[in-house]
């Protein structure tokens, strides 16, 4: 993998995410980059489903939320370390996705998309009533939970670096899958599932496997993110709007491309952040974002990378 130029680009991005705020110590920049990194994780793992396999998962945020819940439970109720909690959350949500996938991945197109919306809502409603998870009032983290990481101030830096590492892991996972036999099978499913099956791709298993994989890192990041927030509540964890926004990020950058997913997520975060604090647009940020999205869908359906590839086809080999 290290032979591919893109591998080094990913490493450079990780280094920049670590070094720029790390050296300057700029917490504001860190917060903005952190959200960017979380979005990159969401978008690039969603890309495994939409861009690689051709299945539109509208409820992708359920993985993030469930991961957050499981992790926060392990930290607050069982006093596990946040790292172990995060790993266990990732693994258990992946397992959940695997089982779920064997059921709902029989559906195609709009039916699958609808089912994923339903699952997100069902999980959200169930968690709201599930008292070990605090039900509707969620779970609050005591400040003492930050103590093992050197207090809140220090902890937030460490969590940030950890999320950046998971961001890097997401990008490298995407790259590894793209250049593997597994990835080739997924692309075949995306292009024509029936043809892929006839060519020998064991589609039901492949789809479930990628569904489970695409759940792993978002669930891990979910734990870290809500740990950092100090609070987890159902409506924050299973926010359908964020789920759809993740698709928007992917479209913005160009589905199917790793760089596109990351670029779209980062730009979208910056853009929304800018609208939010800009006195001119703050009242109409939703409208402006909507118009932008509509323009992309109508006039630039390949997203940013689609446009780049058309203008500079040679970049296909570099920016994967």
């Amino acid at each position: 993998m290290y032979k591919r130029p893109f591998f080094w680009i990913v490493l450079a991005v990780i280094a920049a995410f670590v070094l720029v705020p790390g050296i300057s110590g700029d917490v504001g920049l860190r917060e903005s980059l952190l959200l960017g990194a979380v979005y990159i994780v969401l978008a690039s793992n969603l890309n495994l489903m939409i861009g690689y396999t051709g299945y539109v998962n509208f409820g992708n945020i359920a993985f993030f939320g469930l991961g957050g819940y499981i992790g926060m439970y392990l930290v607050t109720a069982l006093h596990w370390s946040v790292w172990l909690a995060s790993a266990v959350a990732g693994a258990s949500v992946s397992l959940f996705a695997l089982l779920l996938g064997l059921g709902i991945l029989r559906l195609r197109g709009a039916y699958f998309a609808l089912a994923t919306i339903g699952i997100n809502e069902a999980v959200k409603a169930a968690v709201s009533n599930f008292s070990p998870f605090g039900g509707a009032s969620g779970m609050y983290l005591s400040f003492s939970s930050f103590a093992p990481l050197g207090g809140p101030r220090h902890a937030l830096w460490i969590i940030y670096f950890a999320i950046v590492v998971l961001m890097g892991a997401s990008l490298l996972l995407s790259l590894a899958i793209k250049n593997s036999k597994f990835g080739l099978g997924l692309f075949a499913i995306r292009e024509d599932e029936d043809a892929a099956i006839v060519l020998g791709v064991r589609a039901p298993w492949y789809k479930s496997a990628i569904f489970a994989l695409s759940a792993f890192l978002p669930a891990m990041v979910g734990t870290l993110y809500f740990f950092k927030n100090g609070v987890i509540l159902p409506e924050q964890a299973f926010d359908l709007t964020l789920s759809i926004e993740a698709i928007v990020m992917l479209m913005l950058g160009g589905q199917g491309t790793i760089f596109g997913a990351a670029f779209g997520a980062f730009v979208y975060e910056q853009f929304r952040g800018f609208l939010l604090v800009s006195p001119l647009f703050s009242q109409f940020q939703l409208v402006v974002a909507g118009i932008l999205l509509l323009a992309i869908v109508l006039f630039l359906p390949g997203g940013f990378m689609g446009w780049v590839y058309r203008k500079l086809p040679r970049l296909r080999k570099v920016l994967e």
């Binding site: 917060e31 959200l35 983290l141 400040f143 003492s144 101030r153 937030l156 927030n229 100090g230 609070v231």
Partner: protein, 407 residues
């Protein structure tokens, strides 16, 4: 990357340039407010309260610290009713906008999220509209809660029931959200302690619009008083449907919703509904410092053209309490102001303010009491909100039991 670091440099320069001016004469208070999203209705009045206070302070020449006078500037962003960017925005308020003090967002969930940042930087945050007690039990040192904690919300309603019909069958129904369930949990414990009879206890999804099924269950339970509710949207819908479905109840007390003046738009459905309120414009508190309740109400009406509810008063009071503590400390240093706040036990237009100082619940409000307000018919049949409980704050006698429907 290059561009990003360039951006960072520019921002840093801007901050450095702006800093001396900010220090000279202006005190910046930062917070987020829900300009969009579902908390907007509850969050907006709070913002109006902040702004009224700011205007009054500045007109009066600012906050007096020793010999210096500080003008107040409010800096706020939209949190979209969601925690997603709250930490980013509070970091920005602290680091880029150089906020000296902070107010909380609306709601306990957002406040706890913001507190992780404010505590991290050791910034004082006066919370208003964040009633849940557990927010203040996380090991925080710089949070100060203005509201009576959630578990005491329905205490006055239970007092009324105990006094008027101790044998009443109580239905406790509440929105399945953090604040409302905390209120309900507290109420249930209180009712038990007081020997009252809760016959029905159930939550509903917070985005419920059709209360038909749960109302039928209330009827089936034989309950004759109802307490509970949630926020404005569900509470007003519940009140409307209780009326539409002609449920015969002696007494209704709902959280939050009936305190918003728009509640009167429900017309007949609003009549007789009570609300546990942090504050009512008609209360007769004699403040140790700052405006009197009537003066606040008059100023608010003059500026915004409608009566203030308790969210608005809470906003104003947050500013007032902060101002008082700064003036008393004679400093804007966190340690000094914290000390002043820790020592505060005073009556304001908003009621008593006294913060817990123990390690386990630092900043929890322990001095403030709720009142119970009721929508009644006033002159020319217009609905007005009257304080009906406790007797000391009463502006009108309570309507109890309510008019029954003929079936």
């Amino acid at each position: 990357m290059l561009r990003m670091s360039a951006m960072a440099v520019t921002l840093t320069c801007a901050v450095l340039l702006a800093a001396p001016f900010a220090q000279a004469k202006t005190l910046t208070i930062g917070f987020t407010t829900s300009e969009t999203g579902k908390l907007n209705a509850d969050s907006k009045p709070q913002l109006l309260g902040f702004e009224l206070w700011r205007d009054q302070v500045n007109t009066a020449g600012g906050i007096k610290v020793g010999s210096k006078h500080y003008k107040v500037a409010l800096k706020y962003y939209d949190d979209q009713s969601s925690a997603g960017r709250v930490q980013q925005l509070y970091s920005r308020l602290i680091l880029q906008d150089n906020a000296d003090f902070l107010f909380s967002p609306y709601s306990s969930g957002l406040t706890a999220t913001a507190a992780v940042v404010s505590e991290q930087f050791g910034k004082i945050m006066i919370t208003t509209g964040a009633a849940e007690g557990k927010t203040y039990r996380l090991g925080n040192k710089h949070l100060f809660q203005l509201y009576t904690p959630a578990d005491k919300y329905l205490k006055s309603a239970l007092d009324v029931i105990k006094a008027k019909s101790p044998k009443a069958k109580i239905a406790l129904i509440y929105s399945n959200d953090g604040f409302s369930s905390a209120v309900a949990k507290g109420a249930l414990a209180n009712a038990k302690r007081m020997g009252l009879h809760v016959v029905f206890d159930e939550s509903y999804a917070s985005d419920t619009t059709d209360f038909g099924p749960i109302i039928n269950k209330i009827v089936a339970s034989g309950a004759n008083v109802l307490i509970g509710g949630g926020h404005y949207a569900d509470g007003s819908t519940l009140a409307r449907q209780l009326h539409d479905k002609k449920v015969n109840l002696h007494f209704i007390s709902l959280l939050v919703a009936p305190d918003i003046p728009k509640f009167a738009n429900l017309g007949e459905a609003a009549l007789g509904v009570t609300v546990p309120s942090q504050w009512e414009h008609s209360v007769g508190y004699k403040p140790d410092f700052g405006v009197a309740p009537s003066a606040f109400t008059k100023a608010f009406e003059a500026k915004y053209g409608n009566q203030p509810g308790y969210h608005a008063a809470g906003g104003y009071a947050a500013g007032l309490v902060l101002q008082h503590a700064i003036e008393k400390a004679g400093s804007i240093k966190t340690a000094a102001v914290t000390k002043a706040l820790n020592g505060m036990n005073a009556m304001t237009f908003y009621g008593r303010v006294h913060f817990a100082t123990g390690a386990g619940d630092h900043g929890l409000q322990i001095g403030h009491d709720m009142v119970l307000a009721q929508w009644q018919k006033g002159a020319n049949n217009k609905l007005v909100s009257q304080v009906v409980w406790p007797a000391s704050a009463q502006t009108a006698p309570i309507l109890y039991p309510l008019k029954t429907f003929a079936h």
